[in-house]
């Protein structure tokens, strides 16, 4: 008698749990979307930060012709590597923004304590970073490419490779940002940690544009870039989430 009673009560609590789980999973998407929107909104409050990265990209890329001379052939040969390395550096400059301010005011801790999966929260923060620091570069890079005497086809491939590549950069970079959270001298340290990991993205991204320059198909390099992006999409949020938990211990 008592046993059956216990069974029914546990059954009821089980049902209740299930119900609340359903409620959580239904609201999970909207919560994640809300995090994405919030991150973009907060970043846009400090517009100068967002603009600074954007202008860094333009200024740094414009410095190269001043150093190398203005031979159009030389410029178009250099352009893929110059634009890609500059994109790499400007993406890296803004990495600390992904977590630092939320870490400083305790928001990040609250987010990790919530019952939503940390990995997805991290992924949303990375996406917000990409929208504000990667996407503008994709849009402005073809304009800079014109200064470097690139052909139409090269400009297209440059934009496509940057579209995929900058997302991969934000994903991989988030690991460095999470590992160096709250550490003195984090800015330079991020560069040392993240730049070696960026090499495959650079090789395939610039490689796609270079392939077009020598009259080959860029599809091989773009596919490999897509593969790197897919790997980064799966593993980076996991590694970043692990690093965040370590940082917040």
């Amino acid at each position: 008698m008592i046993e059956s009673n216990q069974n029914t009560t546990s059954g009821i609590t089980h049902l209740q749990e299930e119900k609340s789980n359903v409620a959580i999973s239904m609201s999970a998407y909207s919560v994640l979307l809300e995090i994405l929107k919030r991150d973009i909104r907060v970043a846009l409050r400090r517009q100068s930060d967002v603009a600074a990265v954007f202008f860094f990209f333009i200024i740094a890329a414009s410095l190269f012709p001043l150093g190398s001379g203005t031979d159009p052939k030389l410029l178009s040969a250099m352009a893929p590597s110059v634009l890609w390395v500059t994109a790499l550096l400007s993406c890296m400059l803004s990495l600390s923004r992904i977590f630092a301010s939320d870490y400083a005011d305790g928001t990040l801790e609250q987010m990790l304590l919530s019952n939503h999966p940390t990995v997805l929260i991290v992924l949303m923060k990375i996406l917000a970073h990409w929208v504000l620091s990667g996407l503008p570069l994709v849009l402005v890079a073809p304009l800079i490419g014109l200064q470097f005497n690139l052909s139409n086809e090269q400009l297209q491939i440059l934009a496509i490779s940057l579209l995929m590549g900058t997302l991969a950069l934000s994903l991989i970079g988030s690991i460095g940002a999470a590992l160096t959270l709250g550490i003195r001298g984090a800015g330079v340290l991020i560069a040392i940690l993240v730049l070696p990991l960026y090499i495959p993205v650079l090789v395939f991204g610039a490689g796609a544009v270079n392939a077009v320059s020598i009259g080959m198909s860029p599809n091989g390099a773009l596919s490999l870039l897509g593969a790197v992006l897919a790997l980064a999409l799966v593993f980076s949020p996991l590694a970043s989430a692990a690093a965040l938990r370590i940082a917040l211990e």
Partner: protein, 242 residues
Amino acid sequence: MEKKISINWFKYASPKTFYPLAGKIIPWCAIGAAILIAYGLYIGLIIAPTDFQQGEGYRIIFVHVPAAWFSMFLYLIMAFYAAMGLVFNAKLSYMMATAIAPTGAMFTFVALVTGSLWGKPMWGAWWVWDARLTSELILLFLYVGYFSLQAAIDDKNRADKASAVLALVGAINVPIIYFSVKWWNTLHQGSSVSLTKAPAMAAIMLQGMMVMAIGFWLYSVAVILMRVRCEILERDSKLKMF
């Protein structure tokens, strides 16, 4: 009566029991390393015949190739201990990973320097952007990142775990970096040691390289264990009686 044999697998996972064990292993490895490296150098510098294409200059491969092997091998071992540390939360695993890093970086540096010394007479340049040389350079960068992160974090516990995560991320990236760089550019002579086909070099050369490799391995064990012992003493003041 049946007697149950039980082995305590974790007996030496505690720094306290590991410290004396390491102390016993070190002298044997150190002596073995000295003998084997001396013998390997003897084979490489005196017994091995002069290469008819590359002359005497090729003899540097007896140091270069084993050093390059160990630079990569030790990174993987470091990542393995880092993973062990994260999974079992074992302090000793983190200490091992910390202790392996300097030796791995040293071998990477040796491989780079000997490679460029070999490259000058053979390729006519100190540095060539070939796939293996470049990935070795990137491996050095990964080691530098590991050191820098560990040095930047004051809290030992967090430094251990954070650098362990970095070591794992690096280990996943090493093959990707290698193939991306290989795809990007390949000038290097084909790998001369292969397990699947008959080695393209004289048996005596292979023998010399193997002896050097085992010597380097014993050297690594000895040095890493010495470093782990220092690490144990530094972290645990109660064990200072040893």
